[in-house]
Assembly symmetry: C2
Homo-oligomer: 352 residues x 2
């Protein structure tokens, strides 16, 4: 019997509505696989927790999480209660960094049963490898009054080792895919310190992978390609901010931010990895029972893959697509089903 | 007789192919309007010029340009000859900054006769107001070997005055439009010095415009909205980088980067403003005679608007749309016409 310990953090807003279906999917996956169990422990860390305790998680929160093999997260943020940069840097980004989850993996894939807003999506199937530990998201910088003005400086910080490992991960991921093609998101024409450096590292690491086709595209043009020719892309490697933008855009072309999954990976497996959907806490629809559980359940599949249970993970994804193809979809996808109806329908198909 | 002096810089690649049609459109506009002439002088500043002179423009290039009322630019950059950051910072970005063109105006509009890649574009009509003089495009930063690593720092620099004037411009622009709605592109959850500051300024300036509807949206979500619900947006105000990304994405949903125009404005009119299409020099198609002249010609219309000749500008835009609706379009739009065929067809309609 293999037993995997998971910390579950539903977080805020619709995170609390969709996480239960992700948890049920994991439990069912263990059952279907056999000889496997997920031992899950839930933590109430969230903006509500902040209101009570003045922090997003206890001071020893990171240490507590280190005892687990993975973290299953819903969503973080309630901007009317806690400013976003406080809640996110106090929980989501803190975990990503402390746990050295330096890769954020985000598939962008045309799904059965979902209408893409693109007229002719041509079966796009992209894997975005997002650098997840440094770059544009940096606490270095500040404000001052200077001369007749107020000046704010925000530092983006890129290290060679941090850039190399993200880019190398992307090449290795491409090596396992059919098309074997890596596109690097850059902006070396406008951003003249970090991005020419990024290009240089991409070129150097790329030479280790002569069998992989490789190209660099400016982030502005690349964003347009997500709309005009997404089917030409395979693996896309991007800095923290560029990856953030491309993957929401990716969720957009998929048909809804409510279905997109993501995995914050510590490839060295020294620390737990964290699995969370791309969507946020969506306070505007929280409590209405209409949040889409697909993103969270597809995220469960990414966790199954991570632990080597690709077979049962694929079954779960098939069940998700079957359910959507049967028209059992939430309002964000143009349907009328509730969170529970969609979640239960997926679980029922998964059981079959 | 009103005489307006224009510096024309075709620049690199397809810039040289499309600028002549923009120039002809301006000449014809003056004729149609009557009592008006554009006196145009051409400058060969470009990457080729760099190869010969070791600089993108002469040392006194900026002083020369100050004698003109506007600059009409094609495209800059030939990355195989001159690194992009050298060519762009040596010409395009240098002019934007030295001439205090702190606003970059970019319409994102569904056009007659152009098939949008969106299945249901619903007549979107967005005006992006891009901060054009500071922000993420900054020469401050550098590289060093530190500890066991190499570290690159890129500073984004925002000033209160620079942020305020861009945001105020956006509110004023919204006041002249039907919908009167400004969306601010932010990322204050991830980027914690500059973007919370940007939000603060947006809130403060916004209070001067109680009649304008106003909201902030994170750049990741906003990028998705350009695909999932562009018709809900009106004016979008964005930092230099975010505006760059959104407007290429905007060109993407319009149907081709080849049709999108832009205006680098010095609203104080102390320095010449510069008009240039959104597309680049496209060395891959240069010389084939298939570059789309629409972006450059629509850019000429923006120049006409800037000088107060909105009527004739509208006629030019109508001629562009009529031509595209008649199926006279270049390959980027799915057609078979050449640069010359499209350009001449537009000019012929414009003459009528
Ligand atoms: C060429 C490049 C530096 C430029 C920019 O990023 O500003 C271009 O993309 C644009 O949008 O005008
Ligand atoms: C909430 C926010 C800080 C976060 C990010 O930008 O990383 C989110 O957008 C994401 O993509 O996971």
């Amino acid at each position: 019997m293999k037993n995997i310990e998971i910390a579950v953090i539903p977080g805020d807003g619709i995170g609390k509505e969709v996480v239960p279906f992700g948890v049920k999917a994991l439990e069912l996956a263990a059952e279907i696989h056999g000889g496997l169990s997920f031992k899950m422990q839930e933590f109430p860390w969230s903006c509500e927790y902040y209101v009570e305790h003045g922090r997003m998680m206890p001071e020893n929160g990171i240490d507590i999480l280190k005892n687990f093999e993975a973290i299953f997260l819903g969503a973080v943020g309630l901007p009317k209660t806690v400013p976003d940069h406080v809640s996110l840097w106090g929980l989501l980004i803190a975990i990503r960094r402390e746990m050295k989850q330096y890769i954020n993996l985000r598939p962008v894939k045309q799904m059965r049963g979902v209408r893409s807003p693109l007229a002719d999506p041509k079966g796009f199937d992209i894997l975005v490898v997002r650098e997840n530990a440094e770059g544009e998201y940096s606490p270095i910088g500040g404000r001052m009054i200077a001369g007749n003005d107020e000046i704010v400086v925000q530092n983006a910080v890129f290290t060679r080792s941090g850039t190399e490992r993200a880019i190398r991960f992307a090449f290795e991921a491409a090596g396992k895919r059919d098309r074997k093609f890596v596109t690097s998101a850059t902006k070396s024409n406008g951003i003249i310190h970090s991005m020419p450096f990024w290009d240089e590292v991409f070129g150097q690491v790329g030479r280790e992978f002569p069998e992989i086709q490789q190209t660099s595209t400016h982030i502005d043009a690349l964003s347009a390609f997500f709309v005009t020719k997404p089917q030409t892309l395979d693996v896309v490697v991007a800095s923290n901010l560029f990856g953030d933008i491309l993957t929401d855009l990716g969720a957009g072309i998929m048909g809804s931010i409510g279905i997109a999954p993501s995995a914050n990976i510590n490839p060295d497996r020294k620390y737990p990895s964290m699995f969370e959907p791309v969507h946020g806490s969506a306070p505007d629809i929280y409590g209405k029972g209409i949040a889409n559980p697909v993103g969270q359940m597809w995220t469960a599949k990414m966790m199954l893959d991570f632990f080597g249970f690709e077979d049962v993970g694929q079954l779960l994804l098939d069940s998700i697509e079957d359910t959507m193809e049967a028209g059992i979809i939430t309002p964000d996808l143009g349907g009328k089903a509730s969170t529970t109806e969609v979640g239960e329908a997926i679980l029922t198909k998964f059981k079959e």
